[in-house]
């Protein structure tokens, strides 16, 4: 007898469920399979002795008894007869189909011995399960959460530890001697192991030598008191962003309150050999808009490189946003150099994706100004000019002007704190979901520049009033349900709920935005101040609004969808095409198809949970 790879085995080896199996396991599976045929229009015979059906050719529709379409399968898709029988679902051949039935014994053997196989089958089972807020055993498809977190770089792995510390009571001279002896450029000042300050080479130059102070003075007089610090469990790039935005080169690392080490910008550069550091640096030192425009030309290439390095999408979002933040800060400073100091206190706010730190290449700008109550009408002109300068500057740097004109240069969005309160009150007390339709991005806000207390006051006001207003939450949830993910994929199309097909998928509208909306609504209902979707969801789980299981799955789904969107954008950028949010289903591998389908299902589940909680009227 000739030993050879059968057609069945060859086919199975390319499918999501089997592709990771070795040749021996594949041969065993295919030898325990049957081939069947169903004529178009006939119901598929779901036999008890078949654990799994894989479609070889043709197509199949899965419907409820009442006719509601649940799924449509084409070549390579699979179904589990037991699950369909349990839920009294019917599988009908839409076109003549040839399919492989895997014997129940072989299915069970794979299910118990192969984790990837069983996870994929479990996620399939859940697709037809009941929808509930409390999903006990969350759906996590294998590759969605394949331990990537372990590979993430943490501050703790790159800091120098133990740090060189000294008491605040020593003299400047003693401090300098310690630094020389230990060959360090910065010294942490601690009292009872708590961090109270930091002294760097630069401080010694600028605050001691240049100021002509005697070295016999206490070091506490020249240290930077209460320096910002970072927890050792944080991701490395957070430390980087913190340093870049504060314009410092050393960051103390803490473990709770205790000093654990010190991390320098050079450590990060070494760890990542990443460019944002230098880019942000040059943004901070650019002397005019033209220089900023020049620098920002490098952003897309940087992002493309980050994507190539498999940087997580949340990180990429944070890095792009940190660049936009840096540009905004610098532009405001440049505007003030031109226009003079502001006549009253103000705060520059970012909304939407910049606020959530989730910008991508080609994100537009959404921003506004809060002016202090004391602002006189005659000063309005100053802020108009400032806003125009910054908005246009950002536009020139590639942060597109907002098509909805939600920008500080719009008179509507330069308000005193009192008027902002009124504005938000109007939204929160809106009479219909429609009145709120375009307001949702305002509920993602983050302080960028100016008086932080103004932004904080507004944010507190919004959180306080939103949380109590159930009608508002219902309206918001109604609006959030307008964008629902598709059912899945069929052949090379995207399958819609009503059985329609579309050619390409808007990953932003149909994938990311629904998750962002869920996170926003749930966190508003619990008065959570976090703005980024990931932080919001985590806190939503902690607050008990949604189960940890569902949130964890949703976080995985979010990272997966956002990652796909980024990858597609990276490809478009490299190919010199216009960057958009569309995904062509043809480019998906079988496993990715399956995972994306799972992710969509989860989002729909979470939407249903949100609807149940806030009582929206639509779905």
């Amino acid at each position: 007898m000739v030993s050879e790879v059968s057609d069945v085995q060859e086919f199975l080896s390319k499918q999501a469920l089997f592709q990771h199996l070795n040749a021996e396991a594949l041969a065993t599976a295919s030898s325990q399979s049957y081939t069947s045929f169903s004529r178009s229009g006939a119901l598929i015979n779901l036999r008890e002795d078949a654990g799994l059906l894989v479609l070889r050719s043709g197509s199949v529709e899965i419907r409820k008894r009442n006719g509601e379409l649940l799924d449509r399968l084409s070549e390579g898709d699979f179904l589990l007869p037991k699950v369909l029988l349990q839920h009294a679902l019917q599988a009908m051949a839409l076109e003549d189909c040839l399919y492989y039935e895997l014997a129940a014994t072989a299915y069970n053997a794979l299910y118990t011995s192969d984790k990837d196989f069983s996870l994929l089958c479990q996620s399939y089972t859940r697709r037809f399960g009941e929808v509930s807020m409390e999903v006990q055993n969350p759906a996590i498809s294998p590759a969605i959460s394949s331990g990537e977190l372990l590979l993430q770089k943490r501050v703790a792995d790159f800091m120098s530890s133990p740090p060189v510390c000294a008491s605040p009571h020593i003299t400047i001279l003693e401090a300098a001697k310690i630094m020389m002896a230990k060959n360090v450029s910065s010294l942490l000042i601690t009292q009872d192991e708590d961090l109270v300050g930091i002294v760097t080479d630069r401080d010694l130059r600028t605050r001691v030598l240049a100021a002509g102070l005697p070295d016999s003075m206490s070091v506490s007089a020249v240290m930077t008191p209460e320096p910002s610090a970072i927890d050792k469990s944080e991701l490395l790039h957070r430390a980087q962003i913190k340093m870049m935005s504060a314009g410092i080169h050393h960051l103390p690392v803490v473990d709770g309150k205790q000093v654990a080490g010190l991390i320098g910008l050079s450590d990060i550069v070494r760890a990542n050999n990443i460019e944002p550091v230098s880019l942000i640096g040059s943004v901070r030192h650019a002397n005019n808009v033209a220089a900023l425009v020049d620098i920002s030309r490098q952003f897309p290439a940087l992002v493309a490189r980050l994507i190539e390095r498999d940087t997580r999408s949340t990180e990429v979002g944070e890095i792009i946003t940190s660049l936009t933040d840096g540009l905004t800060n610098r532009l405001i400073q440049l505007a003030q150099q031109e226009l003079g100091d502001a006549p009253c206190e103000f705060a520059w706010l970012a909304f939407g994706s910049q606020a959530r730190q989730e910008q991508v290449i080609g994100s537009d700008q959404d921003n506004a100004l809060i002016l202090s109550e004391a602002c006189e009408p005659q000063n309005a002109d100053y802020f108009k000019k400032l806003a125009e300068f910054v908005n246009e500057g950002l536009g020139d740097c590639g942060v597109l002007l907002c098509p909805g004109d939600i920008m500080a240069r719009n008179d509507k969005w330069r308000l005193s704190l009192r008027h902002w309160f009124e504005c938000f009150n109007q939204w929160i007390q809106a009479g219909s979901p429609k009145d709120l339709m375009h307001a949702s991005i305002f509920f993602d806000m983050r302080h960028i520049y100016g008086e932080k207390k103004l932004s904080a006051a507004l944010q507190n006001h919004v959180l306080e009033s939103a949380k109590k207003n159930t009608i508002f939450l219902a309206h918001m949830s109604d609006n959030a349900l307008i964008h629902s993910p598709p059912l899945g994929f069929f052949k090379t199309f995207v399958l819609e709920k009503d059985g329609d097909h579309i050619h390409s998928l808007d990953l932003k509208k149909r994938g990311t935005i629904p998750i962002v909306d869920i996170a926003r609504n749930c966190s508003l209902s619990a008065g959570i101040s976090a703005v980024s979707t990931v932080d919001r969801l985590k806190q939503v789980a902690d607050a008990g609004v949604m189960s940890h299981g569902l949130v964890n799955s949703l976080l995985d789904a979010h990272e997966f969808i956002a990652g796909l969107r980024l990858d597609a954008q990276g490809r478009q950028y490299r190919a010199g095409e216009a960057v958009d949010n569309y995904l062509d289903p043809k480019t998906l591998s079988p496993l990715m198809r399956h995972q994306l389908k799972d992710a969509f299902h989860l989002v729909r589940q979470a939407q249903a949970a949100m609807k149940a909680r806030f009582g929206g009227g639509l779905i």
Binding site: V2, E4, D7, S33, T35, L98
Partner: protein, 227 residues
């Protein structure tokens, strides 16, 4: 159709005593199938042979592939592909079938292969796509090795397809690949005895499903014949 049983009984009666001591005995103990027998209750063995040419007198069998159908579905684990010792020089088609001399070195004797096939044939209906040629070679091999021909019931999917075309008044090709296309069956790129047997088996399932719902199809609908 009912005439299928007559030649079966005749051949059985004529040779039964004489084949008694040969390997063919089990085949001659079979009785013809009742034609009201259901498709789902019948075991089928789909067979395809590769030969060095088309003339059974001059050319020889190179390989045989087969696969069984039980309860209306193809049993993938039953697939066999057996190469046969070259006894005469290979004809042109060896190249077509991609069978290299090296491959044939690990082959079995025709007698051994026939014995394996005979085991499969018990209580089963054989299926061929274009039966006459394959059967000619198989019968000659049987006579050469066991002195008597094989005795079995068979269905020819090409004949089934021809009958369908005639009833529909159409004149499309009834070759394996073309016939499969009409049932939306996937294109098969590889051609050897086993691949063609599997392709024929799939075609047969499609044909049966188009005759009616499988639980209602009986052997009398399938043009069963006697070897």
């Amino acid at each position: 159709m009912a005439l299928y049983k007559l030649p079966f009984y005749f051949k059985r009666w004529k040779n039964k005593d004489r084949v008694g001591k040969t390997a063919l005995a089990p085949l001659y103990e079979n009785i013809p199938f009742t034609l009201s027998r259901g498709f789902l209750d019948t075991r089928f063995v789909v067979v395809d042979c590769e030969m060095s040419g088309l003339d059974a007198g001059k050319h020889q069998l190179l390989s045989i592939g087969w696969i069984a159908i039980e309860k209306g579905r193809i049993v993938n684990g039953s697939a066999r592909h057996l190469l046969i010792h070259a006894e005469k020089g290979l004809g042109d088609s060896a190249v077509i079938h991609g069978l290299q001399a090296a491959n044939l070195a690990g082959a079995s004797s025709i007698a051994a292969v026939l014995l394996l096939l005979i085991k499969q044939m018990k209580n089963s209906v054989l299926i061929f796509h274009h039966a006459p040629i394959d059967m000619q070679f198989l019968q000659l091999a049987s006579i050469n090795n066991f002195r008597y021909p094989l005795l079995f019931s068979y269905i020819d999917t090409m004949a089934l397809e021809n009958r369908k075309m005639q009833m529909q008044g159409k004149q499309y090709s009834v070759r394996l690949g073309e016939s499969r296309k009409r049932y939306g069956l996937p294109v098969v790129n590889q051609h050897n005895a086993l691949c063609d047997a599997v392709a024929t088996a799939e075609l047969f399932l499609a044909q049966v499903n188009y005759l009616g719902s499988p639980e209602k199809v009986r052997l009398k609908h399938l043009n069963v014949q006697c070897s």
